[in-house]
């Protein structure tokens, strides 16, 4: 048997609905026989007709409703149809969910699923990665699972956490990534994972760029370079200790993220390593992000806009020569 990243997300939600009556799924097209734009909730409304609920196209009110329900003991999972559309719910996510515990001492345990990242032909408004926006604001946990196993266990963990969680699932991984079975338990939330061990260079990355980086590590292994790949798993909290320990082993740091280049998760990693581990570095750290333009529609443009294995490999080779 093999299970995809998308099926793992669906299975996690099925388990959550079965195990916990406080859980309900709220979003556009998630209910009925349709089961979501990507089918991440397919079949769940049949089993739980009162807890898998379609909503109007009202991202602000969807998240506001989830916040209110969470205040009164529920554990809502909001599905944004695309991560890009969460921009119209920013106020409720950042200013309401993100501030509520600090202001009132009452946390709001909502999980917001963001189908994130680019796929060919999706264009500027169905391709974005929003993790850096949410990580910037206080009061939110930001998850970026890169494997089928993490997609499953981290979603279950997200719902168990008493604070708001933005769960960034990558659309590019939905069907590509497969596992033989789902684990009962994963690494603790907030702990990064050494996806591949190496001693010549550390690539710190997350989400779909983990798979690209592993491909690069494989390619460079044929050139006798041992690349270590650190999968952050959550960009907030950011596991600085695991990153520093890896840089201590390799002396070289390359950070890869799919979101826009100004600021963001990759910049944060480099800021922390240079600040706390400057002495560990044998060369200036390098970062790779998407280009500073909206995400293009045409595959020729899209594949150049997004960091890919080719670009990562080129930067890694250059950094290894430093």
């Amino acid at each position: 048997m093999s299970i995809t990243y998308l099926e793992a997300i669906r299975e996690a939600q099925a388990k959550l609905l079965r195990d916990d009556e406080r859980v309900f799924i709220y979003g556009q097209d998630v209910g009925g026989t349709f089961g979501g734009a990507f089918k991440a909730t397919k079949g769940l409304a049949k089993e739980f007709p009162n807890r898998v609920l379609n909503t109007p196209i009202s991202e602000d009110a969807i998240v506001g409703t989830a916040i209110g329900a969470a205040m009164r003991g529920m554990r809502p999972i909001v599905e944004m149809q695309f991560a890009d559309f969460s921009s119209t719910a920013l106020n409720q996510i950042l200013n309401h969910a993100g501030t509520h515990y600090w202001r009132t001492n009452i946390p709001v345990p909502i999980t917001i699923r963001l189908p994130s990242g680019g796929t060919k032909g999706s264009g500027p408004f169905h391709s974005q990665s929003m993790e850096s926006v949410y990580a910037h604001y206080p009061g939110l946990i930001v998850m970026t699972p890169a494997t089928v196993e993490d997609a499953y266990t981290m979603l279950i963990d997200a719902v168990a956490i008493d604070d708001p969680v933005v769960y960034c699932e990558h659309k590019y991984l939905y069907y590509h990534l497969k596992a033989n079975k789902l684990p009962d338990k994963g690494l603790p939330t907030g702990r990064a994972r050494i996806a591949r061990q190496g001693r010549d260079l550390t690539i710190v990355t997350y989400s779909a760029m983990v798979q690209e980086s592993l491909a690069v590590a494989e390619e460079l292994a044929r050139e006798n370079f041992e690349i270590e790949v650190v999968d952050l798993r959550t960009v907030k909290p950011l596991d600085t200790d695991t990153v520093l320990a890896s840089v201590a082993r390799t002396g070289r740091l390359l950070c890869v993220g799919e979101s826009f280049p100004w600021g963001g998760a990759t910049a944060e990693v480099i800021a922390r390593v240079t600040s706390e581990g400057f002495h560990l570095l044998d060369a200036a750290p390098v970062r790779i992000n998407a280009k500073d333009t909206p995400i293009p529609y045409h595959p020729n443009l899209w594949s150049a806009h997004r960091p890919g294995a080719k670009m990562i490999a080129a930067k890694a080779r250059a950094l290894l020569k430093e």
């Binding site: 406080r22 969470a70 009164r72 003991g73 515990y101 946990i141 604070d163 950011l238």
Partner: protein, 343 residues
């Protein structure tokens, strides 16, 4: 002495004879006016940091919002709802604590002035972004329905300014889709900060929107306490009984600036001569005198009682410690092991 209402026990408003209910509401309005006048004088004296936002002229509508809610109900007040907050059960010492930054207030110095509440007791803590509280109220009501609770209602306040936000529109629409027992009380005080109605909306009457959303709607004169009590009580009852969500639109004039930093010089003399520009507290008091519901000595004793309560609340809050940045728990999430870069 009129004590801060104990929700669940204050069935007096529900069952009281009209005169008694009117007098109880009047006393909350009086307490609110007295408290807010004191806050204004503290602000003028430089003793309050940040802003002061008062509900002068809107107390009749506001008190009716708080008065008919019961234990287990949800109240989402906004910035001009001191009367309703008190009638719902907020102790005025918590108002003083929040304005004066006491560590013992519900917001502990982390948020101030009208941004306060106790969500665990059903009073939501508004954020500044208008319209945002409607869908949050809907969510609290859905949670109650999920839990199998019965006989509850939520009331969310808004102004005609907030009614023009996208968030309000989404929240109102979703409330009707979910058929939750919600009452929205919209107070048209004729100015969004300095912007008059003709630059806020172009429909003939805001209450016409009720039909478009699937709400039942009512227009009222917000200066008339009896009308406010009758119509809002009825709306609360109808929502509680399972009727569609209810919209009440009240017409008043804001008898202050947007905040106390604002002299409201943009309010025209013509506007001040409109019937809705009358002071609801003065009208209520005149009615009490005209109908001999209470004599002058009683009215005077109520004024003194309100002043005494306010003085005590302010004195209490002034004695309490301010937050200490060195000792503050700088942690925005409750899951401590997931704090990024712990101090």
């Amino acid at each position: 002495m009129l004590q801060t209402a104990q929700r669940g026990k204050k069935s007096s408003a529900k069952k009281a004879a009209p005169h008694e209910r009117f007098l109880e509401a009047f006393r909350w309005m009086l307490l609110s006016r007295t408290l807010e006048e004191k806050l204004v004088s503290l602000y003028r004296g430089g003793q309050i940091t940040g802003g002061v936002y008062i509900g002068k002229g809107q107390e009749a509508v506001s008190v009716a919002c708080g008065l008919f809610l019961q234990k287990g109900d949800i109240f989402a007040p906004l910035i001009r709802d001191q009367a309703g907050r008190s009638a719902f059960g907020e102790p005025i010492v918590d108002v003083a604590r929040t304005y004066l930054g006491s560590r013992q207030g519900p917001m502990r110095g982390r948020d101030g002035n009208i941004h306060r509440g106790k969500p665990s007791e059903g009073q939501l803590a508004m954020i500044s972004h208008l319209g945002a509280m409607v869908s949050v109220t809907v969510g609290t009501l859905m949670a109650k329905r999920f839990h199998g609770e019965k006989n509850f209602v939520g009331l969310s306040c808004i102004g005609e300014g907030g009614m023009q936000t996208g968030s309000f529109h989404e929240g109102m629409n979703l409330a009707a889709v979910e058929q939750v027992p919600l009452v929205i009380v919209a107070t048209n005080n004729h100015y969004a900060y300095s912007t008059p109605n003709d630059r806020e909306f172009a429909c003939a009457d805001l209450v016409d929107r009720a039909k478009g959303y699937g709400f039942e709607g009512y227009s009222i004169d917000g200066t008339d306490l009896s009308t406010c009590l009758d119509v809002i009580e009825s709306a609360v009852k109808r929502a509680r009984a399972g009727r569609p969500p209810q919209l009440v639109v009240a017409s008043v004039l804001r008898l202050s600036g947007h905040g106390e930093h604002d002299d409201a010089s943009y309010v025209t003399d013509e506007m001040k001569r409109q019937p809705f520009a009358q002071d609801c507290l003065k009208l209520a008091e005149k009615k009490i005198v005209d109908l001999e519901m209470a004599d002058d000595a009683t009215l005077q004793s109520w004024r003194e009682d309100a002043a005494k309560q306010v003085d005590e609340a302010i004195a209490t809050a002034q004695k309490e410690a301010a937050p200490d940045a060195e000792k503050e728990d700088w942690c925005a999430i409750s899951t401590r092991e997931l704090v990024d870069q712990p101090e």
